[in-house]
């Protein structure tokens, strides 16, 4: 099913390239577009002659964790960048709260309630924790519109405490925090600033077991509090711990689209490693013995 859809949207990608004004029919999406915060329909992205993504259908529901899995180069980053406003998609439609959108800048995405926590966290390492927390959302006071540093420090401390991180000195540069703490600062920031959707780009990739656990706990907590969470990872075990819905990307296309009750962690791992390829690999390793 997904293969057929992929090829048809490939054609669509070419058509759209010539006629960028072409609007997708929205009739079939109307009945469930309302309860998904973000909905992608046949979304594709070409960089010159390179097709990074084709025919992506994805729906992010409030209060759910949607996991996007894929190996390096599968198109996960491109997908995030489209939703985060760093790149514009070249085909298909992206519906945000039911409205077709194309973001020209990350600011537009943030204003639409989409917060992204990148692999590199989008934190300036030499800046203090509180300055990073309020970056581009500074609280100002008085006729001179000076920064209300005391209030921002207090809020930063409180918000981090809510996530279970006790950071008495928020004046410390972010670079001096541990990886898990940095990740949590970025997540806490996104939640505090009223995100409806939280996109997490490989939040556990560089972390140890315990810190990964802490971060996964906050991923689940964010979804419980009503946010739509997009969790990008290449670790099927991490994904299965928190995910409600799973999408596997392979070479820029969707290879799997299943909800939690349709799949087991073994199947997910198998699919992720590319089932047949894994069997072949096993065979080759036996040959080598």
């Amino acid at each position: 099913m997904s293969a057929a859809r992929g090829s048809s949207s490939e054609e669509r990608a070419y058509r759209d390239h010539e006629e960028p004004k072409n609007v997708e029919p929205e009739a079939d999406s109307e009945h469930d577009a309302t309860d998904s915060v973000i909905r992608l329909e046949g979304v594709g992205k070409t960089y010159g002659t390179v097709r990074a993504l084709t025919g992506i259908d994805l729906s992010v529901q409030a209060g759910e964790v949607t996991c996007v899995l894929g190996d390096n180069g599968a198109g996960k980053s491109t997908l995030i960048k489209i939703m985060a406003g760093l790149h514009e998609h070249t085909s298909g439609t992206m519906l945000v709260s039911g409205k077709a959108r194309k973001f020209g800048s990350p600011r537009e995405a943030v204003e639409a309630g989409i917060a992204t926590v990148y692999q590199d966290l989008a934190l300036a390492p030499l800046m203090s924790v509180w300055r990073n927390f309020f970056l581009a959302n500074e609280i100002r006071k008085g006729p001179l519109r000076l920064l209300d540093a005391d209030r921002m420090k207090r809020i930063t401390r409180d918000e981090l405490a809510k996530m279970g991180i006790d950071l008495p000195d928020v004046d410390r540069p972010v670079g001096s925090l541990s990886g898990g703490q940095r990740q949590c600062v970025a997540i806490a920031r996104a939640i505090y600033f009223g995100a409806k959707v939280l996109i997490l780009d490989e939040p556990t990739a560089a972390l140890g077991v315990k810190q990964s656990g802490v971060v996964l706990k906050y991923v689940a907590r964010a979804a419980e509090s009503g946010l739509g969470v997009v969790f990008i990872t290449h670790n099927p075990h991490h994904a299965f711990l928190v995910g409600d819905h799973f999408v596997i990307l392979k070479l820029g296309q969707m290879a799997l689209d299943a909800s939690r009750d349709e799949i087991t962690v073994e199947q997910l791992t198998e699919q992720m490693a590319g089932g047949d390829e894994l069997a072949e690999l096993r065979h080759e390793m036996h040959e080598a013995d």
């Binding site: 990148y118 966290l121 989008a122 300036a124 800046m127 991180i165």
Partner: protein
């Protein structure tokens, strides 16, 4: 999962991480970028107080401050720009360009001096904007873009006066309309504490400009949203953009501020002497950068202090006159500056590491 039982988790729990304990007040103090420069300034002051008798004369305070202001007025915006992650190698000649533009335009069209001054402001801001805009459009490093501007301006500084007047010195404008009032605004000086036994301390208005620029820039950097954006743009431009900081606008704003300060210092130079020479200002861009680096600014951006840069300028002023007062050969000034630059950078690095360790 089985590995968890064989290797006990040695990672500290994030909730009880001892690394997040509050820093000691000493560490917090050492963590401030301007501390190294302050220690350096005190050391240099003590050095010249002991070897140069004239340095001890109170009347010379005015001269030292004047020398410092001539660097400090530019070191402040150059430091902000460096914290924002960019260089401006054209900063030195831009001062002369502004002064030449004001005097040549006023002289050539027989304008009131003030008209020339306002036109020069427009030109200086345009040069600053061009630097920022080229940087954004070409995505070249600012080192290259402003190196280009530097040579373009230096060439124009020589060629235009030669073309118009066949001279490398701008015509004297002290008899033109508006000169006196402009002189009062940009180059007047006052003598304080004058008595029968004491000649007084003469403070030029440029010192006031320098102090004002330092205070305003320091407040903007540490206490306003724009300052937060400058730190972020220099610390990690991609991260800043992803967070919603208008990085391009911030950087163009910084280049405009350099343009404004170049105009201010250019007007002071012009009105103080009524004339400027085409080759003035060449090499000063490095002295501004030295002042900023001595003051704790990182070459890679994202960290530094305006007050530190002003202390750096003060160090330059003290050294410049201290060498003369001590009776040493002034030719050694640049050598001294070079040694100081490397030493200051090493000290700043060491101080920061100490602060991080506590």
């Amino acid at each position: 999962m089985s590995s968890a039982t064989t290797t006990p988790d040695r990672r500290p729990d994030t909730t009880t991480d001892t690394r997040t304990a509050p820093r000691s007040p000493i560490a917090a103090l050492l963590g401030k970028p301007e501390v190294g420069a302050l220690i350096g300034a005190i050391a240099i002051c003590v050095l010249f107080l002991s070897v140069a008798p004239a340095f001890r004369g109170l009347a010379n305070v005015g001269t030292i401050l004047y020398q410092s202001s001539a660097i400090g007025i530019m070191a402040v915006p150059v430091a902000l720009l460096m914290i924002g992650g960019e260089f401006d190698l054209s900063a030195g000649v831009a001062v002369t360009s502004s002064a030449l533009a004001a005097s040549m335009l006023a002289w050539e069209f027989n304008f009131n001096v003030w008209v020339g001054i306002l036109l020069a402001l427009a030109i200086s801001l345009a040069v600053g904007f061009a630097n920022g805009w080229l940087l954004y459009r070409t995505r070249l490093p600012s080192f290259l873009v402003t190196l280009g501007t530097y040579f373009v301006l230096q060439g124009a500084n020589l060629a235009v006066p030669r073309l118009i007047d066949d001279n490398v010195t701008s015509p004297k404008i002290d008899d033109m309309a508006g000169f006196d009032s402009a002189h009062a605004v940009f180059a007047s000086s006052h003598t304080f504490f004058k008595s029968d036994s004491f000649e007084g301390i003469t403070i030029n208005i440029s010192v006031l400009f320098w102090v004002l620029l330092t205070v305003v820039a320091a407040v903007v950097l540490t206490r306003t949203r724009a300052g937060n954006w400058i730190f972020a743009a220099g610390g990690d431009a991609e991260a800043a953009r992803a967070s919603g900081v208008p990085v391009v606008r911030t950087k163009i704003g910084l280049f405009l501020f350099v343009g404004f300060a170049a105009w201010l210092l250019g007007m002071h130079t012009l009105l103080n002497f009524a004339t400027v020479q085409s080759n003035q200002g060449v090499g000063n861009e490095f002295i501004y950068i030295i002042a900023a680096v001595v003051g704790g600014c990182l070459l890679t951006g994202g960290f530094g202090s305006v007050i530190g840069a002003s202390i750096g300028a003060l160090i330059y002023g003290m050294t410049n006159l201290g060498i003369t007062y001590a009776g040493w050969n002034v030719d050694w000034l640049k050598t001294f500056l070079g040694i100081m630059l490397v030493l200051a950078t090493l000290i700043n690095m060491w101080v920061r590491r100490q602060a991080e360790r506590r």
